[in-house]
Structure formats: structure tokens, C-alpha cells
């Protein structure tokens, strides 16, 4: 199978893998900035695409086994000098480094739904990442008109961790009947100036993504503080959600 591609004016190619809606978000932004997007459907079709790619993005957060498989394949197919930006929201770059042979070119990125809509993106090098790879990541994000904020390589990074905790707490408040889902969202927007209500934000992100990040935080930090609200788990599992009493 041939790699699908969108030719951009610069003719520079980006190899893109990962979860939806993240891939769609990055494809839209990178395409609009003139990049050619290479999205092979399967890792076995990587070879041709890998020789043309200037940078690779692996944006999976939920299925970490599939993520590992893709990173291993990317590492084998890409020339040694091609940097790989990999989502490190639910697994650190350091842990991902143990999956590949050329760990110096892995840079973590806070790839989390809705966060690419704004001007800044978090990146996290591991202790093995070399400076040129970081520079490539910063230049790439700059070309997408995004600033880069370098943070330490930890599960959840900064914004996904804070956001998921806020959504989890809001779900506990719904579960214990503190107020209705609609009123809680309204209260947080009017009373605390939040750009979105936590529940509508959770819906936009996808509760499966939120659950996966909270589970990763709970597993990594081992604290009761990161216990996942059963209601959130139920919604993430069943895909069902209600607002103001209606299913």
C-alpha cells in the first residue's frame, strides 16, 4: 500500500501516526503550514515514506502496545538523523527510549486533544535526547506558529495532568450530586473564568483519553489522589454520558 500524502508548497514531509482526533488536529495544522503529510496506514508500509520524511510524529496515548510497535518500526525505518516527536503524556520519553535503539532522537510532546488549538505546546526531552533533536522539535513547532515550552519528562506533563485532574474532580462532583453537569460547567466558566466547562472539555478531549491519562498518573505516582472517579470510568468504557438528567 502506498503512503497517502498531501503535497505542500515547501515540499517538506512529516510522517504522522497516532490516535484520532490528534492525528486530524496535527494534520490540519501542519498541512495549513505547507507540510506534506505522510500517513502510512500500517507500519509495514513505512519504508518508502520514511526516506522522504524530515520529522516523524507518533501521537498515541491510549493503546501503548500499538505505540511501542510503531515506534520500533519508525526507529528501524527512519534515517538516524530524523527526529521523532512522540506523545509522552501517558508514558515518559525515558520509558519509550527503552523500546528503540536510537533513543537520542526521541522528544516528548504533550499531544492531547484540544491543546493544539492554542499557541504553545509542551515538549520534554529525556536524559538521552540530544540537543539537535530538541532544536528540530522547537523549529518544527515554530513553523506551525507554535511556541515550545520545555518541561521535565514526567507522566501527564503539565497541562494534560492539570486538566485531567480538574475533569476527574468535576466528575466526582457530578457523581455525588453536588450539582448538575450543566450547572457545574456554568459555575466553572462564570465563577472561575475557565475557557470551557470541565465536562464539555472532557467531551471534546474524549473521556477515553482522559481516563488513560488518569490511569497513567495513578500507576506512575501511586497516590490515592489520582483515583479515577467510577462515573468517569463508566463513561470512558461505555461512551455514554448524560447532561442534566437526560441520558
Amino acid at each position: 500500500m502506498k503512503a497517502s500524502s498531501t503535497k505542500g508548497p515547501k515540499g517538506v514531509s512529516v510522517l504522522l501516526f497516532g490516535d484520532e482526533p490528534l492525528v486530524a488536529e496535527y494534520r490540519r495544522v501542519a498541512s495549513s503550514c505547507g507540510y506534506e503529510i505522510l500517513s502510512p496506514g500500517e507500519t509495514k508500509n513505512l519504508k518508502g515514506a520514511a526516506t522522504r520524511a524530515s520529522i516523524a510524529l507518533e501521537l498515541s496515548n491510549v493503546d501503548l502496545a500499538a505505540k511501542k510497535e510503531r515506534l520500533v518500526a519508525l526507529d528501524k525505518a527512519l534515517p538516524e538523523t530524523t527526529a521523532i516527536l512522540t506523545s509522552s503524556v501517558n508514558v515518559t520519553v525515558l520509558d519509550q527510549s527503552s523500546w528503540v535503539s536510537m533513543r537520542h532522537r526521541l522528544i516528548g510532546i504533550a499531544a492531547f486533544p484540544t491543546l493544539l488549538e492554542k499557541d504553545l505546546v509542551e515538549i520534554a526531552p529525556s536524559v538521552y535526547t540530544l540537543d539537535p533533536a530538541v532544536a528540530v522539535a522547537v523549529r518544527f513547532l515554530g513553523s506551525l506558529k507554535k511556541k515550545a515550552a520545555v518541561v521535565q519528562d514526567r507522566v501527564g506533563m503539565v497541562m494534560p495532568r492539570i486538566l485531567c485532574q480538574v475533569i476527574n474532580e468535576t466528575m466526582f462532583a457530578v457523581q455525588d450530586g453536588t450539582s448538575s453537569p450543566g450547572e457545574i460547567d456554568l459555575a466553572m466558566k462564570l465563577g472561575a473564568g475557565y475557557p470551557l466547562g470541565p465536562l464539555e472539555w472532557g467531551e471534546r478531549v474524549g473521556f477515553g483519553q482522559v481516563y488513560a491519562t488518569l490511569k497513567a498518573l495513578h500507576d506512575d505516582l501511586g497516590e490515592e489522589r489520582y483515583r479515577i472517579c467510577p462515573l468517569l470510568k463508566e463513561i470512558a468504557t461505555t461512551g455514554k454520558f448524560w447532561r442534566d438528567g437526560s441520558k
Binding site: 492554542k118 504553545l120 511556541k147 515550552a149 521535565q152 480538574v166 474532580e169 453536588t178 450539582s179 465563577g191
Partner: protein
């Protein structure tokens, strides 16, 4: 619809409610034990209304009429005629309970009693009154005359009628009301407490600096303010007290455990913007 309200405590919150209620055509009895506090509140309200009139938000006539509806009171018996009495005194359970017991004997049986407490449960304040079902919480956010939300808190014994009267009142003040259960932090403070707490943990673990976390929350998350600048603005001591209250009332649920950074800063007198130094230097 009630026409006459009483406010006990002429501080920032009490004064702010008096400001809005007088503009909403309520006759306001503003009570405080200290007449100078009432005078200071009315001067503040006058200045705020003048600014609104200068900006064309209200007319001079509206301002004059509204100010004429605010009456200074230094005896609780002078609130006996009020249809709603709102308490806005110190966050101290004993002081509030004593006050509500006195009000219980002074006002009409059908008068709605409300507390503006942000940390003390409405249920605890109403406990032991002859008619605890007439007590609700009205949680306003400072500055009261400019913020858009008020939480209407339903205590364990609050009646449906009292809750809906509370909602009608805050909506007549131009606020959007949200009804909440009488649980620690209600909605806004509870969720914000997690927001601040998580930002403090990210800082404490050395993942990013306070400045970088604020920048990420604003420029990546789209928030209008970062958690650390917000904590500085609200006061580190106030933030610590609120976090501690939610933690204690939830029987030490680890989700609400205050962060040692906040405690150390509060003890050191590094209180945020008001002290010239908090997470940032001012």
C-alpha cells in the same frame, strides 16, 4: 418579590451585596456593630457607583436613588421587618451560629436567612435553629458588584422554597445562579482547589517553574490566568485557609490535601501580591 433586605456585616462581601441590591431596587438595611465600618462601606459603594455612572453604565439618578435605599443599622432589631437577611460576617462557626440564633428571635418566621460563608457548612450554621429549613447559602465571588455567578447552597435541612427564594434573589441582582449541595467548597472552590493543588504538585516535583506552569496553562490551555498568579492575587494565606477547610471537611480525603509549599509561604508571610512577594515578586 421581597422589597426589603437586611445585610449583617458591612465588609467587602456585605458591602458588595448592598451595592447590587440597592441598584436592584431593594431597600437595604446594612448592619454592623461598628458604625465606621458601615460608613467605609457606603463610601466604597458611592465611589464604585460614581465610576459606573462616569462610564455610562448607570445614570446619576439611578445612583442617587440606589444610595438613598441603603440605611445604616447598628441594632439587629432594626432588621426585624426584612424579608431576607444575609449574613456576611467573619468565617467563624461560633460567631455565625450565635448571630443566627439572635436573628431567629428577631426576624419574622417567614424571613429567609442566608449565609455568605465560603468554608463553613450551611447545615452547621443552621443547626439548632427553630426553623433551619429557612437557611440557605448564597456564595458570592469578589468583587461582588462585578462578578457574574452566585452559588445557592442547599443545606441538609434547607427547604425547596428557601432554595428557590435564594435563587430568585441572586438573579434579581443580575447574577447567574447555580444550585449546589452543601459539600466542602461547593462547586467552584472544590474544583479550583484541585486545579491549584495539581499545579503546586507539578511545581513541587520540579516539572516546570511557576512562571512556566502559568504560561502553559494560559497559552496551551487557554485560561485567562495561571494558577500561581491567581493564588498570589487571592492571597496565599486565604488560599491555605480554604484548602485546609476543604481538606478537614472532607475528613482528610487525599485529593484535597493542601501542599506544603503553600503552608510554608503562609507561615513565612509570603502572602502574594498584597505582601509584595508570593510566587512572583511585585
Amino acid at each position: 418579590m421581597p422589597q426589603s433586605i437586611g445585610i449583617v456585616g458591612a465588609g467587602t462581601i456585605g458591602g458588595g451585596i448592598a451595592h447590587l441590591a440597592s441598584l436592584a431596587r431593594f431597600t437595604v438595611s446594612l448592619y454592623d456593630v461598628n458604625e465606621t465600618v458601615i460608613l467605609a462601606a457606603t463610601s466604597r459603594i458611592t465611589a464604585e457607583m460614581k465610576a459606573a455612572a462616569d462610564g455610562g453604565k448607570i445614570s446619576r439618578e439611578e445612583m442617587t436613588e440606589a444610595l438613598s435605599r441603603i440605611h445604616a443599622r447598628t441594632k439587629l432589631s432594626e432588621l426585624a421587618h426584612c424579608e431576607i437577611v444575609i449574613e456576611a460576617v467573619l468565617e467563624d462557626l461560633k460567631i455565625k451560629r450565635d448571630l443566627f440564633r439572635r436573628l431567629d428571635g428577631e426576624v419574622k418566621p417567614e424571613t429567609l436567612l442566608a449565609t455568605t460563608s465560603s468554608t463553613i457548612p450551611v447545615t452547621s450554621i443552621a443547626a439548632g435553629l427553630k426553623k433551619p429549613e429557612r437557611v440557605v447559602g448564597l456564595h458570592f465571588f469578589p468583587p461582588v458588584h462585578r462578578t457574574r455567578l452566585a452559588e445557592v447552597v442547599r443545606g441538609l435541612q434547607s427547604s425547596e422554597d428557601s432554595t428557590s427564594r435564594g435563587r430568585e434573589f441572586v438573579e434579581r441582582l443580575g447574577k447567574t445562579s447555580v444550585t449546589t449541595k452543601d459539600s466542602p467548597g461547593y462547586v467552584v472552590h472544590r474544583v479550583v482547589s484541585l486545579f491549584y493543588g495539581e499545579a503546586l504538585r507539578v511545581l513541587g516535583e520540579g516539572i516546570a517553574t511557576a512562571g512556566d506552569i502559568d504560561r502553559i496553562v494560559k497559552d496551551s490551555g487557554g485560561f485567562s490566568a495561571g494558577p500561581f498568579e491567581s493564588m498570589d492575587l487571592e492571597g496565599i494565606d486565604a488560599g491555605m485557609a480554604l484548602a485546609q477547610a476543604i481538606y478537614d471537611q472532607s475528613f482528610q480525603d487525599p485529593r484535597y490535601r493542601p501542599h506544603p509549599i503553600l503552608k510554608r509561604m503562609a507561615e513565612a508571610g509570603i502572602l502574594g501580591k498584597k505582601s509584595g512577594r508570593g510566587f512572583f515578586i511585585y
